[in-house]
């Protein structure tokens, strides 16, 4: 059953969105992600945490002046997992 191949980490729309943005950008900060995906702070933080725990993204903290700026980057594992997930999605759509 092809459905078993779906990656559970990417089940939510928000997580798919976060990964999509990270795939095409070197790094993205918290606020840009929030604006692009129309999520609340808490919501985004939860999803980012889940992806970080899965090892799909890495977090970099830096300061711009006195303001903290959190950057997110996709890891090699994350890139691979997301690409696999997309292939499964595509195959699923083609076959149905």
């Amino acid at each position: 059953m092809i459905l078993e191949k779906f990656n559970k980490t990417f089940e939510s729309k928000a997580r798919l969105g976060i990964m999509s943005v990270l795939m095409v950008n070197e790094s993205v900060n918290f606020n840009s992600l929030k604006e692009l995906l129309n999520l609340t702070d808490g919501n985004l933080a939860t999803h980012v945490k889940a992806l970080e725990e899965a090892g799909y993204l890495s977090v970099q903290k830096e300061f711009i002046g006195r303001k903290p700026n959190t950057l997110y980057l996709v890891t090699a594992d994350g890139r691979k997992a997301f690409e696999d997930h997309l292939s499964v999605l595509e195959a699923f759509i083609k076959n149905s």
Binding site: K13, S20, V21, M23, S32, L36, L86, I93
Partner: protein
């Protein structure tokens, strides 16, 4: 099934929106082209006035009759550039407001940086050539450097800009070979091409 299709579409759109500045308006191109044509008309009229020769070939013959013409072309070029920039920014800001996009974000910053490095280099290089009285070379190099600037910038915006850049470079190189027709290449590169690409972008993305 529909849900997966929706997801794929959303992924595609997010990838594009997050990596490309899409508020660039076709009207910016059209207005820049029209302003360039007006500027070109002034230069041409001045040439006819100085040389009494209405052939647009050999536009810089007019510069042989003293330095007035050189200064005049320089001034027109400055006004054209400023006018094109102001109108370009105006239409792009307008489009961004309409689609509720922020105008000053990471993407527009990257776009501007990538555009301005080759552009400023080209401007300084051309000025140096003017200083050395190599006017036709200066005109060609403005086209070439502008083309390079567009190609750099195209990484952060719509693909059309890449092809426009290529065409500008080709025109610039041709104008070095076909000496004497610099003015016509310049009119096509900065006037006609901007209007054509601007219109095509307007109908493709702004409508």
């Amino acid at each position: 099934m529909n849900e997966h299709l929706e997801n794929l579409k959303e992924i595609r759109s997010l990838m594009e929106r997050s990596s490309k500045f899409l508020s660039l308006s076709g009207l910016s191109g059209i207005s820049a082209g029209i302003i360039a044509l007006v500027g070109a008309y002034f230069v041409y009229a001045k040439k006819v006035e100085i040389t009494n020769n209405s052939n647009p070939k050999g536009i810089f013959d007019a510069a042989l009759q003293g330095t007035d013409f050189k200064m005049f072309v320089f001034q027109v070029a400055c006004f054209t550039l400023i006018g094109a920039l102001i109108s370009g920014i105006y239409f792009t800001v307008r489009k961004a407001k309409k689609s509720n996009e922020k105008i000053w974000n990471n993407l527009s910053k990257k776009l501007l940086l990538n555009l301005s490095i080759p552009l400023v280099t080209g401007a300084l290089f051309s000025l140096a050539l003017v200083q050395q009285n190599m006017l036709w070379m200066a005109a060609s190099s403005t086209l070439i450097f502008y083309g390079l600037a567009l190609i750099f910038a195209s990484n952060y915006t719509v693909r059309d800009v890449f092809y426009l850049g290529l065409l500008e470079i080709v025109l610039g190189l041709l104008s070095v070979i076909f000496v004497g027709y610099t003015f016509l290449f310049w009119v096509v590169g900065f006037g006609v091409l901007h209007i054509l690409y601007g219109s095509s972008m307007y109908f493709k993305y702004d409508k």
